[in-house]
């Protein structure tokens, strides 16, 4: 069996997103990865992830086909997916280990370092099963963050007991992770992980479904690229669209009534106005300064040693918003430390920081022409509950009642727009070739 698809890839500054769309314009799968690695790899990995995701949904479809009820399906899929991710994690961890040792050797750091690395990695390996236990919580879905934070914790503990200096360990990690991330091999193939995972999950119906899905061929018709890195996308120029247009179209596809779109990504913030057809009528973007976009929050999360996921919920506990005076991200980091030392509450400061970033977005929105009904918030920061809350408050105060759309998948808005453009291009080419034939 064979399925045609088009892919849209949004090569963001922090994350690269892919959306795979079938001929019916239904979303088959979504994939996301860090953009830290090089661009080609990022695109490949994101697409790979989207295809994995597509296969998961195909498996789900198979199971449904077999008459399995929704609850049972969810349970089976969760088990399968966790087992699958665990396989992936193990494969990457192995690659990381090899790379760490290689670097340690090249720098001639000696036996003490080698055995310390083994101690850390051994612990991490042991913890893997627990990490992917059903119901366990994870700090991030990205290997870098997941492995990185644990590695640093362990290294810190070792440094505290005096067994090994901290800085060289972190230095090694920074080198090795770059390599691991940039290697598609480290991730492994869908098929091999899936086969192991289905055995691990141990359910005959699931096994049948997986085997069936593995035999489906997914065929790419066209890919369209967009995003911050679009000049460097591995796409021909004709197949590249401005991220503004993609966001407008993507938001329109998700919420057809939307007129204003705010996208806060890692490195830029865009305020876009679209007409009833999803056509962009005006837009504003910020300059290249981290203050006011997702990296601001990312930086603050690092400063506080928190995961991005934790930021919003923690700020949500605040009952008093502190006013942050520094605009610059780095200075805000310093201000944060100063305020903490003055005894201000962490959640209050965090609430202030969230408000600060939304205030900046408000001014872009104002510049682009205000906030119309409906209003859609997209980009990675839309995943942050506190950012959404701050936005809701400020919009209400200054523009009155507005329907605010958000979606857990809003980070894929740009990629979705791009995939729609891809299918349009396919139709156009088909029309053209018909003309040529005629």
């Amino acid at each position: 069996m064979k399925i045609d698809y088009c892919v849209g890839i949004d090569l963001g500054s922090t994350t690269t997103k892919a959306v795979v769309l079938d001929g019916e314009r239904h979303i088959l799968g979504r994939g996301i990865t860090n953009s830290r690695s090089n661009y080609d790899v990022a695109c490949k990995v994101a697409l790979g992830e989207a295809l994995i995701n597509a296969r998961f949904s195909l498996i789900d479809g198979r199971l449904e086909h077999e008459g399995i009820d929704a609850e049972r399906r969810r349970e089976l899929l969760t088990r399968f997916e966790l087992a699958f991710r665990e396989q992936q994690y193990r494969s990457q961890l192995a690659a990381l280990r090899a790379s760490l040792h290689q670097h340690a050797e090249r720098l001639a750091l000696g036996a003490a370092t080698t055995s310390t690395l083994e101690r850390i990695l051994g612990t991490m390996e042991q913890e893997t099963t627990e990490l992917y236990r059903v119901g366990a919580s994870r700090k991030s879905d990205f290997f870098r963050d997941l492995a990185g934070s644990r590695y640093v914790e362990l290294a810190e503990a070792i440094a505290r007991e005096g067994s090994h200096a901290f800085d060289p360990l972190v230095g090694l990690f920074d080198k090795a992770i770059l390599e691991t991330e940039n290697s598609t091999e480290a991730v492994g193939t869908f098929e091999s992980h899936a086969r192991k995972a289905m055995v691990q999950a141990g359910d005959p119906a699931l096994q049948r479904a997986v085997t069936k899905v593995l035999s489906i061929e997914l065929v790419q018709r066209l890919g369209v690229g967009t995003g911050y890195g679009r000049q460097r996308l591995p796409f021909p120029e004709k197949l590249i669209r401005s991220e503004i247009l993609c966001h407008g179209l993507g938001a329109h596809a998700m919420f057809p009534q939307t007129r204003t779109v705010l996208d806060i990504g890692g490195q830029d913030t865009k305020a876009i106005q679209v007409d009833p057809n999803g056509i962009v009528t005006s837009f504003q973007m910020n300059d290249r300064c981290a203050a006011g976009c997702g990296r601001y929050l990312g930086y603050i999360a690092d400063e506080m040693n928190l995961g991005l996921h934790e930021l919003g919920p923690m700020a949500g506990k605040s009952c008093r918003t502190v006013r942050i005076n520094s605009t610059c991200t780095v200075f805000a980091g310093a201000e944060l430390r100063e305020r903490l030392s003055l005894g201000e509450k962490r959640e209050d400061i965090l609430a202030g920081l969230h408000r600060a970033i939304i205030l900046r977005a408000m001014s872009l929105l104002a510049r682009s022409g205000g906030i119309e009904d409906e209003f859609t918030f997209t980009g990675g920061v839309a995943r942050n509950t506190q950012a959404v809350k701050a936005l809701r408050v400020l919009v209400g105060e200054h523009y009155g009642e507005r329907k605010l759309n958000t979606s857990p998948d809003s980070i894929y808005t740009g990629a979705l727009g791009a995939s729609l453009f891809a299918w349009r291009e396919v139709s156009r080419q088909e029309a053209e070739s018909v003309e040529v034939l005629a």
């Binding site: 830290r36 080198k175 300064c289 981290a290 400063e303 200075f331 430390r337 903490l340």
Partner: protein, 286 residues
């Protein structure tokens, strides 16, 4: 101990580290550094670290707090309890710079968040200055971030940068978003030394601008934490030559302590000046 000898401490409360300098000051006969300590804050409350750092320096010098005639703070030290008096950053860097290298008439203090060029006369009186604004691009923290992205430690930067063959030009970049720029460069196959040197050159450009607009000429001492960075100094020297800026960039092993040293020396200066007017400070010495 001679009767006109004063013992003073200077404490520089920085945004990234506490620096303490202990000095013996014999007035017109000069002063000498008798103890020092530096402690990185690593996200701790500076006021907590101040005491331990001061005590560490005292222990090294075999002194006790009661032996001190003046405890001078600088930087963010206005709130330090045990201080006798506070002097502002540029005042102290000028004094410290002059102490470390009597030939200089200007210092460029490069710390974690700010950089400033300070001009002074032969008595360390500040004649003019220029500072960077509220953007951390090109600061110490910026460099530290870059290190993380490149996977090198801060001490490796200098030596690595010196190995560069073909520095990559990079215009001013955001201290936080630099990450992507750096990754960009890495993925284009540019070597770490070339990246670092490029960054050093762009930083040097900023500092030279501060120096020239402040009107500096002749020997200039780098003070502050980034004085440890050989690569940055090389870049400054190189760029100054290229742009024909008439300055001679110098470094001193105690450059990072300049603020603390200056604070201590000004403390001694105040003690003498006040006692010449018959005022004695309710200082620490019992």
């Amino acid at each position: 101990m001679r009767s006109d000898e004063l013992r003073v401490a200077g404490i520089d409360v920085g945004s990234s580290a506490i620096k303490v300098a202990l000095l013996r000051d014999r007035g017109s006969e000069g002063a000498e550094l008798v103890g020092q300590a530096t402690e990185r804050l690593r996200r701790r409350d500076p006021l907590d670290v101040v005491d331990s750092t001061l005590d560490a320096a005292l222990a090294l010098a075999g002194l006790r707090r009661g032996d001190l005639d003046y405890i001078a703070t600088t930087g963010e030290g206005e709130k330090v309890e045990c201080r006798t008096g506070h002097f502002y950053g540029m005042t102290t860097h000028a004094r410290g710079g002059l102490f470390l290298d009597p030939a200089v008439r200007a210092v460029v203090d490069i710390g974690a968040l700010h950089a400033r060029a300070v001009l002074m006369d032969e008595r360390a009186r500040v004649l003019g200055h220029r500072m960077t604004s509220q953007c951390a691009s090109g600061s110490g923290q910026f460099l530290e971030n870059i290190c993380r992205y490149l996977g090198v430690t801060i001490d490796e930067i200098g030596p690595l940068s010196l190995q560069s063959q073909k520095p990559e030009t990079c215009s001013s970049i955001c201290a936080v978003l630099a990450e992507t720029d750096v990754i960009n460069m890495v993925s284009r196959g540019i070597t770490i030394p070339d990246i670092l040197k490029g960054i050093h050159l762009s930083m040097a450009g900023r500092y030279l601008k501060l120096l020239t607009s402040a009107g500096a000429r002749g020997p200039v001492l780098i003070t502050g934490g980034l004085a440890r960075d050989e690569g940055l100094r090389a870049a400054l020297v190189e760029l100054a030559g290229e742009q024909k800026v008439p300055v001679e960039i110098r470094m001193h092993e105690h450059s990072p302590l300049a603020g603390a040293i200056g604070a201590g020396l000004w403390g001694a200066f105040r003690v003498r000046k006040l006692s010449s007017r018959g005022i004695s400070l309710s200082g620490s010495r019992g």
